[in-house]
């Protein structure tokens, strides 16, 4: 296995043996149980740094390479990481740096007072690119358990080859990396997108067998007329990162069945490392719109308002997941890295779901107000408070991939810029609408149901 190719990156093909040697060379440069702010990209250096730090038991705290200067500053201030691992071109430098290929390891000169908990391996944000300081605390066992489970239900084998389509810092993107390395498969690391010719050239040249996508990836593939593309090496493609919608799910389930590609829609949360449920490919058409059944080793149930278990089919309640991939909890600053397990293996997902007669789960709503916008989770209440800090009174609503921001006054264009800056979202992903008055009840609370009627 060690002579097998682990990854391809811009024409370089690196074996597992070489990858681990490179990883350990980087990893031994950091102190065990220190915190590394990790600026992730889909490159060999990023992958080797990740493995090296984990192997030397430094804690990896992921950030997207698109992070803005203010958010970076806020993270450094809040978490006091001992190191920053970042691409050469990234806007951070320190007095003590060492280069590794296209990456640099920078000593920050800071030392956090809190030592990481002995189980803590990795910290990920829940909100994609929104620059949030809130992180999920994951253990070595979480990463291992979720990867084992994914390899099992997808049937990943050493002959598989996965191409990157999602950010390395994103729980779903990282789960594809982890599970394929565990299976001894190979990876094609690229920052190219599906709209780059080089991406499809790589898929053909490397005989790629799989990729993953968020709902908007599948909207793109539909627009690219996926049905006409000739990609004989593809064996299975996966979807997660928000609800695909029944129609799009069915479209791809049928299309893939014709093309002899397994299409597997999945459900997950960063709080559970990545994956929680999946729809087996054989049931994909019939169960379109469902999130499926629990992954191997996990258990799903539905809880009513009083905390009791809902046994009856087609009855909505909060979806609860139990499994070895449930994280320890959250962190919002350095002090939290020493915290123990707050969740105890049980995750209340915040999603409202019901179970059908066959035991398949379907999400019917959310307990908290948040949307998925192009794969990024946006908490509407959090967004409203962020805007309030800017002096903008707004009410946010909408559905997945269509966020709406209602304001009573101000210039919609400039508010759009602020929202885009605060959330990192593309401006076309949301609407700012000027209305006479935000609908409120007597207590002054915004009436979101009346707001929806204005759409």
């Amino acid at each position: 296995m060690f002579d097998a190719i682990a990854y391809h990156d811009e024409g370089r093909s690196v074996t597992y043996k070489e990858m681990l040697e490179n990883a350990d060379r980087i990893g031994k440069r950091v102190e065990p149980r220190s915190l590394v702010l990790f600026v992730a990209t889909n490159t060999g250096e990023s992958l080797e740094g990740y493995l090296g730090f984990l192997r030397n038991r430094a804690v990896v705290m992921m950030a997207a390479s698109s992070i803005d200067a203010d958010s970076l500053e806020a993270l450094l201030e809040a978490y006091k990481p001992e190191y920053v691992w970042c691409p050469d071109s990234f806007g951070y430098s320190s007095d003590s740096e060492k280069s590794y290929g296209r990456y640099r390891l920078c000593e920050t000169g800071m030392t956090g007072e809190a030592k990481p908990h002995s189980d803590l391996a990795l910290m990920l944000t829940t909100s994609g690119s929104t620059g949030s300081r809130k992180y999920v605390r994951l253990t070595y066992e979480n990463i291992r358990a979720n990867a084992i489970s994914i390899v099992d239900y997808l049937g990943i084998s050493p002959g598989d080859c996965a191409i990157t389509t999602l950010p390395f810092s994103y729980s779903y993107g990282l789960s594809i990396i982890n599970s394929h390395l565990l299976a001894g498969s190979s990876l094609v690391l690229t920052e190219k997108t599906m709209f780059d010719r080089e991406f499809w050239d790589l898929v053909r040249a490397r005989s790629v067998t799989t990729f993953g996508g968020v709902p908007y990836t599948y909207s793109m593939l539909k627009r690219l007329r996926f049905e006409r593309m000739d990609l004989p090496s593809l064996r299975y493609i996966t979807q997660a990162g928000g609800r695909l919608g029944r129609d799009l799910h069915e479209h791809f389930a049928r299309l893939c069945a014709e093309k002899n590609i397994d299409f597997i829609a999945m459900y997950g949360q960063t709080e559970a490392t990545a994956r929680i449920a999946y729809v087996p490919a054989s049931r994909s058409v019939e169960k379109a719109g469902s999130v499926g059944i629990a992954i191997p080793g996990g258990e799903l149930s539905i809880r009513d308002e009083s905390g009791g278990e809902v046994e009856a089919p087609d009855t909505a309640g909060e979806l609860v997941y139990r499994g070895p991939n449930v994280s320890m909890g959250y962190a919002s600053s350095r002090i939290d890295v020493s915290r123990g397990d707050d969740f105890g293996g049980v995750l209340a997902t915040g999603d409202l779901a019901c179970r059908d007669e066959d035991g398949f789960y379907r999400i019917v709503g959310r307990m908290k107000r948040f949307l998925k916008v192009y794969g990024n989770r946006v908490n509407l209440d959090e967004l409203e408070s962020m805007l309030a800090v800017e002096g903008i009174v707004a009410a946010c609503s909408g559905e997945d991939d269509a966020l709406r921001v209602f304001v009573e006054d101000g210039d919609p264009k400039s508010i759009q810029s602020i929202v885009s800056e605060k959330t990192g979202l593309y401006k076309g992903a949301f609407d700012v609408r000027l209305i006479d008055a935000l609908p409120r009840n007597d207590a002054g609370k915004i009436q979101y149901s009346s707001l929806e009627d204005l759409c």
Partner: protein
């Protein structure tokens, strides 16, 4: 609106660029909003505006303001 105005409007609306930026330097990923999401919006806007459906290869090759003009000419859109 003339075809070239329609073409320019699609760029300005979806990529948030101004008139001065419409030219040979405007290529895929050269401005913040022309990422994969922006690309999808741009193609959708052009397909709607000209009532055409671009082929896969043309959507992928549509990687600059100038390249797009040549591609649209093959769909009988004279700019």
């Amino acid at each position: 609106m003339s075809n070239i105005e329609t073409y320019n409007t699609a760029f300005k609306d979806t990529l948030e660029v101004d008139d001065a930026m419409l030219g040979a330097d405007l290529v895929y990923q050269s401005v913040e909003n022309w990422d994969s999401v922006g690309h999808m919006q741009l193609i959708a806007a052009l397909e709607d505006a000209f009532d055409i459906m671009l082929d896969t290869d043309d959507i992928i090759d549509f990687n600059s303001y100038e390249a797009g003009k040549a591609i649209l000419s093959r769909y009988d859109v004279e700019l």
